[in-house]
Subunit: 355 residues, 2 copies
Amino acid sequence: MELKTLSEIDIISASTSKINQVDFENLTFGNVFTDHMLVCDFENGAWQKPVIKPYEPFMIDPSAKVFHYGQAIFEGMKAYKDTHDDVWLFRPDENFHRFNKSASRMAMPEVPEDVFMGGLHKLLEIEKNWVKKGKGNTLYIRPFMIATGHGVIAAPSSEYRFMIILSPARAYYSGEVKVIIAEHFSRAANGGIGAAKAAGNYSAQFYPTKLANEKGFQQIIWTDDATHTKLEEAGTMNVFFRINDTLFTAPTSERILDGVTRKSVIELAKRENINVEVRSVLVDELIAAAKDGSLKEIFGAGTAAVINPIVGFSYKDTYYELPKIENSMALEIKEKLTNIQYKLAEDTFGWTVKI
Amino acid sequence: MELKTLSEIDIISASTSKINQVDFENLTFGNVFTDHMLVCDFENGAWQKPVIKPYEPFMIDPSAKVFHYGQAIFEGMKAYKDTHDDVWLFRPDENFHRFNKSASRMAMPEVPEDVFMGGLHKLLEIEKNWVKKGKGNTLYIRPFMIATGHGVIAAPSSEYRFMIILSPARAYYSGEVKVIIAEHFSRAANGGIGAAKAAGNYSAQFYPTKLANEKGFQQIIWTDDATHTKLEEAGTMNVFFRINDTLFTAPTSERILDGVTRKSVIELAKRENINVEVRSVLVDELIAAAKDGSLKEIFGAGTAAVINPIVGFSYKDTYYELPKIENSMALEIKEKLTNIQYKLAEDTFGWTVKI
């Protein structure tokens, strides 16, 4: 896919750059931002002229609908620098299309491609020094849209703001990741918004995740809310289970995010002749596989977390530790995926797009 | 319950009042605000000194967690003026306690009583001229809390802002209310946040409600997401069904908001010797009752909407019109409830609290 560029855009440059104040070796995920951001407002039924301007706080009314009704969506993407100092995106079209699917589900206007993609292209050209070379270094990209219209009546806003902010990033999770299988709490309803990258889906998980954290677990693997018997996703990652030499992952649905990393893992695994089955794994199956030793690996897949091996899980207060294995599929797939992203291996899929 | 007053509060008065520009006879719900608002920030693990200041936009960082993860809750309350020019609240303790229950479910800090209740008391003293006399006139009160902490990592914020804004209001719905019974979309998951007044619960309903609006229906009566067979609530109102001379309403649960108007209707109906059954009504029962004529009334109950009769409902593309009846329980209960709220009848329950 070709990135479109915007002909109509205002650019206001920052007078100074913060880049020299940043310790790129010791970044906490998502709390340092680059010098500029993209802003585009939807008013009077139309998207206005986008502007790239210094990253800074902005004014908003206390009655803005985003504060009261959570009408807000986002995407997570990354930019990578290759050894020639070129900057690349990974399957940005997937994020763009999913963003507009989320918009539609949340009764928000779709963002035009020239604003989303053209604006992102231009912003990354300006901020290319913030993308550092070397595997593991990325510039995390956060496009998002919020309802800025005024009024405390529960109805869609008529005004919106689309923004892109950029944050240099290394690992999302530091240290080992252990998970709890959800027995009571849930992430998404049938016929709900679980498949959308809607803001409200994330805060809904904070309290159960806090309870998990207090028990020493980093994340929860959510189960279907009706029966809590089917394994779904981890909220910030889709989840893969390796039983013997087959990889299993839940099919996407109204309750499960259609992850870009998830689908890339499936395609990569298939190319490597790894058997992949897209079907719901039952909690009972997982327990049985853990007990009889056929459960070899569990890993999460997401843009922020990339591929994240899970070292063990808890269910009904019993902890199941995963075996230490020599030939980890998680690590093999992660290596192949990141090699494509950093242009260290041939991109036979056509996934990478140059800025 | 006694309202506490705040000893420690800063007050910055507006230089002029907007009150004379407001047409109190022709108000659209929730889009005019009074001269002042209350603001209280949570920083460094503690609530700071609250301030009452002119209503105005405020500065916020693009990475504020409320925009990305929807960590936001609110309450809806009303102030009423009696014939002696005294201003009254209706069961404010219920809203205060529910607010903090919502806070807990959304991994947000609880707001102290002296900030919430004391702050509200003080704010209403200042804005008492905005509460107009006469039944139907109210000052709608919107306490809310948003996550203001920075950072695009999906974890609870460490900073929050609690605010109270006030909006003079008359009817929430103008005109007849017809509803669709949900067959596919859902409002809340088992083990989800449906019982919390969390921002994300509301925008999740916007798209299905827009589809309903396009077919000429104002609202949706949500059903349980697993089977879509049990009637739950309407998203902005709890729902009552009158079959013959019995009122039915769903029990509160993790999926259903514990409405203050709902519980007041139940108590009032019981005092009036109306038979009330708190149990789930099945969609099948409703259809059967509509067909055999035993379904007499459906009405919504909520702070914003008060008691809202529903004139008909649609299920599987069949429209069922409710009979025109002489002795409407909805209107009888509404009359008794609003008489208590406006101090036109004795408050035998102790529900009203004077400012």
